[in-house]
Structure formats: C-alpha cells, structure tokens
C-alpha cells in the first residue's frame, strides 16, 4: 500500500523553480532514499511535506488524506515526524524537554488545564517516562538534563531523531541524519534506523549523502536533479543507471 503519494508537485520562489512536477510514492513500511546533488530540491520536498512551503501545482496524499488541505501544526497529528538538515532543536531546553515537545501533538493540556493544574502532573509524568525511554534507545539518557545548546552536532542529530519519534509517528522524514558523524557512527546509525523501523512500525523518507548508508538501508531510492526526478528504483538499479552516474555519483575519470 502506498502511504505517501506525491503527484506532479511544483514549487516556485519568485520565478525560481525549486521543484518541477515531482512525482513519487512511498510504500507502507519502506525506507525510501532521496538522493541528488546539493540544491536538487530534496529539502524542499521535506518542507512541502511539513507544509512549510506551498506548492504552486500538484497534490500530496498521505494515508488517504489530502495533505495540502492540512495546516502545518496538524501534520504531526497525522503521524508525520521529521528532522532538519541544520537542526531545529530548542537550544535553551534540556534534551528531555526537547523530546517532550516532540510529543506535543499527543498532549491534551491546554491553557485552561495548565492554569487549573487539572491532569497536568499525570500527563507530564507519562511524557517524561516515554521521552526518557526514547533518549535511552538512542544512548542519550545520561545527557537528559543537559540543555541542547553546546552539544556536538552528531549528538544533536540523534536528539532530533528521538524527538521526531516522540509523537509515535507512522512516517518520518530524515534530513541528512548522518552528517557530522564519523564512518563508524554512520554504520551504527544505519543499524539503528533499520531497528527503529521494525520496532516502531515506521515508514521513512531519507535524505543522505553517505551513499554506503543509503544503499544499505533503502528499499527504494528516488534520485533528483534540478527539482526533477531523474531515476527511481532499488539501490542496485539506481547505482547502475547511467543518468544517475552522470548527475550525482560521477563517472570514472
């Protein structure tokens, strides 16, 4: 079953075309790699799916829902989580609180209940426990009380993944999760992603430049260049596609 259907999506900023007629599907339970040169429009795809950018044309369907009719803050409620290429953590909050905000869409306490303290303690206790469990799963438990500001990039990348999972999403968008990691850490991350996928019953869209990792974990890969899809297929198919080699992987000198 297709969980996500992107159909003919075009995005323009003041005359510059960032995406042009992009079409691809992601199957339930797959890890779909999204690769292409810098500036190909991968992050733009993510921003369309998070409803930060408004496409000028095309449609996006997620789990049977017309995604373009949903407001940005309701995306999380639908079950879509994401990480950011250059991090969008909350620097003054502790790692634990960051992950707790990740579950915001699951919470129920609004201003009235917050002021009257009705059910606040219980919600916070539950959240704290599930968030701690997530931090533990990513090996960050001992840093739980540390503010996000001042921690290494690679660590924060993992915090973002934990935060994205806090709302128990069906689908996560990972934007270069391996950047800033050493080679051994990249391998470790690849194993974690595969493990997390089966544990949380997730579907993933993965933007990454570490080809070894993308090839290893992806069920399917979509290749982009200049806002268009130039190829799509299994890692093996993509690797041998002459168009992909020309545009991204490069030819032998």
């Amino acid at each position: 079953m297709d969980l996500l259907k992107v159909d003919g999506v075009t995005v323009e900023f003041g005359g510059i075309v960032a995406l042009s007629g992009l079409t691809f599907n992601v199957q339930q339970g797959d890890i779909c790699g999204l690769i292409g040169p810098n500036g190909a429009g991968k992050t733009t795809v993510f921003n369309v799916l998070s409803r930060i950018y408004e496409p000028t044309q095309g449609s996006v369907t997620f789990d049977g829902v017309d995604l373009l009719g949903v407001e940005a803050h309701d995306i999380a409620k639908l079950g879509i989580g994401r990480t950011f290429q250059n991090l969008a953590l909350f620097p003054s909050m502790s790692l634990l609180e960051n992950v707790m905000v990740g579950a915001h869409s699951k919470g129920r306490v609004g201003f009235v209940r917050a002021i009257t303290r009705f059910g606040v303690r219980r919600e916070d206790r539950q959240l704290r426990e599930t968030s701690m469990a997530l931090l533990e799963a990513f090996g960050l438990a001992q840093l739980a009380a540390h503010p996000a500001a001042g921690l290494p990039f690679g660590t924060l990348k993992r915090v973002e993944i934990a935060r994205a999972l806090a709302a128990k999403p069906k689908f996560v968008l990972l934007d270069e999760p391996a950047s800033g990691l050493t080679h051994s850490e990249v391998d470790e991350l690849a194993d974690t992603l595969v493990r997390v996928r089966s544990e949380f019953n997730l579907t993933m869209l993965l933007v990454e430049h570490h080809m070894s990792m993308v090839m290893k974990v992806s069920d399917k890969i979509v290749v982009m260049e200049f806002g268009r899809k130039i190829a799509e297929g299994t890692p093996a198919e993509v690797r041998d596609n002459p168009e992909v080699i020309r545009a991204y992987l490069g030819t032998d000198a």
């Binding site: 930060i52 909350f90 905000v101 990740g102 915001h104 201003f111 917050a114």
Partner: protein, 353 residues
C-alpha cells in the same frame, strides 16, 4: 566544584524548599505589621509591578514576542475599574473581572499581527498600541466615558470585599494594610497562573516557539492559537495590576505613569533586572526597582550620601538614570538578571541533582 550536592526530592531538598517558603511567608507577614505606612504603600506598589512584569514575562521572556504595549492593558484595567465603579456603580471585584476579560480580548487582537510579523515590526505594533491608548482616552469623542484629559477621580472603595483576613477598611492606616493584602492576593493569583502555564505542555510550547518557531510548528504547536492566547492571558493579568492601582489611589488619568509608554518600559525594566523567563525574576525585579526609586528619591532630595553627592546637579530624582545605567550594565554582566546572577552564584555552593 560545588561545596554541597543535594539530591532532588531528598529530605534535605524538601527541607530547603520548605525553609524557603517559610522565609517568604515571614517576610510577607512582617511587612504590614512592622513597616511604616509609607513603606507598606511602596510594597503595594511593588506588588502591582510584580503582577505586570510577570505577565509581560509570559510574552517576552518565555514566548520571545517583544511587547512595549503592556501599559495599554494596565490602562484597560484602570479605566474599567474607574469607569464602572464611579459611573455605573459596579463593585470593584466585578469591574476587575470585566477589565481582565476586556484586556484578554484586546491582547488577543494585538497579537494577531504577531502571527505574520516578528521582531521590530511587532515591537512597532505594540509601540503604536502603547501610544494610542492614552490618546484614545483623551479623545473628545470619548469624553462622556473617560472624562477626557481630566480623568476620573474620587473612585470610592467602600464596597471592596472585607474578608476577615483582609481586615476592615477604617481610617488611613487600615486602608494601606488592606490594599497590601489585596495586592498579595492578586500576586498569588498571577504567580499561580504563570507557574501553571510555564510548567506544563503549553509552557514548553511557548519556549519552543521562542527557541525555534518552525521546529515548534512541525512538532504540532499551533503558533496562531498559542501566541494569541498567551498574549491574551498576559494582557488580562496586566489589567489586574491596573485595577489594583486604581482601587488603591482612587484616581485614573490617561497620562498616569503606568498608562503611557513609560509604564511599558518600567515593566520591561522590572522584568529584565529581575531575570527574564523565570517566575522569581519579576518579584525580585520589582523589589529592586521600588527600592532604587525610593532610595534615590529621598537621597537626592536630602542631598545625603553617595547618591546625593553624585547627583547634586540634578534637577529631578536621578532614579531613572540609575535604573537605565543598571539596565545596560546588566545586559553586559548578567543578561539573565539579578535572579539569574544569584542563582549562578548559589550553584557554586549548592547543586541540586
């Protein structure tokens, strides 16, 4: 590093907290029983500032939305109480509730531009609100309601609730003590509201908006409702301070200090000096502010001490000069305010794990 380490929620930690609460209670009780009438009155004034600065803190400190328009919300509370009590015979309590509701709606509306604009542009909207409010109150077309530039005076206070613990309203001294307790009650309400919001899902959402708006939105924080509601709550709390001071002085004029832009600046100074984004900060800030204000006023008037000698040339009280210098210096040495500074120093001695 630290000399003492205490475990969170251990008996020692609980003992320290109980001791802290006890000290605050003693201080609160000590003021009306031992202080002079004038000083009790100053404390009441400080408490009104605590309310306004705490409310401002919700918007600026936690959510990161700059507002210099809170004097207008103070003014809404002031005028609601002034007009309703003196012209329509309402009780003080009801006028205060009405003022808070009105301010909530107004705050909500003022925050609407904040959904599209940020930074200085929002500051400009709130500047416009701050300057427009006294102008509107003096507008001839509204004179039937507001008495124009003359303002409203002689607002009676007999009908204030005389609960046993508030004491009876007889004679001047009792009146001062009465309003002190009245203010304490409102401060408690304000602190509970602010603390309740901050220590909850909504409080985390506010800080998330301040730290990274897009990140917050992707996590499911509804920027529009969260920003407008927190602005509304903040405006409503600020109007309580306005109602309180009208009840205390019996007078409201459009050019009253806290109703003009100067009022907004004072709230901001109190918040920043005390420590933004903390519950305790505005309380400390208000005490510091009122103390500096009173001390420099008397010292420069009598020409005594360092202040009197330093500001011998000054035609008026140098309180504002000292406070503005303090504000700028604090931004350099302790951007998290006096409370932040104290907390940092305290952590060298005691660490709670």
């Amino acid at each position: 590093m630290a000399l003492v380490t205490i475990k969170r929620n251990s008996p020692q930690h609980i003992a320290v907290r109980v001791l802290g609460v006890l000290l605050v209670v003693i201080a609160v009780l000590w003021v009306p029983t031992k202080m002079t009438t004038g000083n009790i009155d100053s404390m009441t004034n400080a408490l009104a500032l605590v309310i306004a600065a705490s409310a401002l803190n919700l918007v600026i400190g936690y959510t990161g939305l700059i507002s210099i328009g809170h004097s207008a919300f103070f003014g809404i509370g002031s005028y609601a109480t002034g007009v309703l009590v003196s012209k329509y015979g309402w009780g003080h309590g009801w006028s205060m509730i009405f003022g808070a509701l009105l301010a909530f709606v107004f705050g909500f509306i003022v925050a609407l531009p904040a959904l599209r604009i940020k930074g200085i542009y929002l500051a400009l909207v709130t500047l416009a609100v701050a300057v427009l409010f006294p102008t509107m109150m003096k507008w001839p077309k509204l004179e039937w309601l507001t008495n124009g530039a003359r303002g409203i005076s002689g607002i009676r206070y007999e009908e204030l609730p005389s609960l046993p613990f508030l004491g009876e309203l007889k004679g001047r001294d009792d009146r001062t003590v009465f309003f002190y307790w009245y203010a304490i009650m409102l401060v408690i309400i304000t602190v509970l509201v602010c603390r309740g919001i901050v220590k909850s899902r909504m409080g985390r959402a506010l800080i998330a908006i301040r730290d990274n708006e897009i990140g917050a939105e992707v996590m499911g924080v509804n920027l529009a409702t969260t920003k407008t509601l927190v602005f509304g709550v903040s405006a409503a709390l600020t109007s309580l301070a306005g109602s309180l001071s009208v009840a205390r002085t019996g007078v409201v004029t459009a050019d009253g200090a806290n109703l003009t832009l100067i009022g907004s600046i004072v709230f901001l100074v109190v918040m920043v000096v005390g420590g933004a984004a903390t519950i305790t900060g505005p309380i400390i800030g208000a005490l510091v502010y009122v103390w500096v204000d009173n001390y420099t006023r008397t010292a420069s008037a009598s020409g005594e001490g360092l202040i009197g000698w330093l500001f011998d040339w000054s035609a008026v009280s140098p309180a504002s000069i000292i406070l503005s210098v303090a504000l700028i210096v604090l931004m350099f040495v302790a951007p998290d305010g006096v409370f932040g500074l104290v907390r940092r120093l305290a952590r060298r001695v005691v660490v709670i794990k």
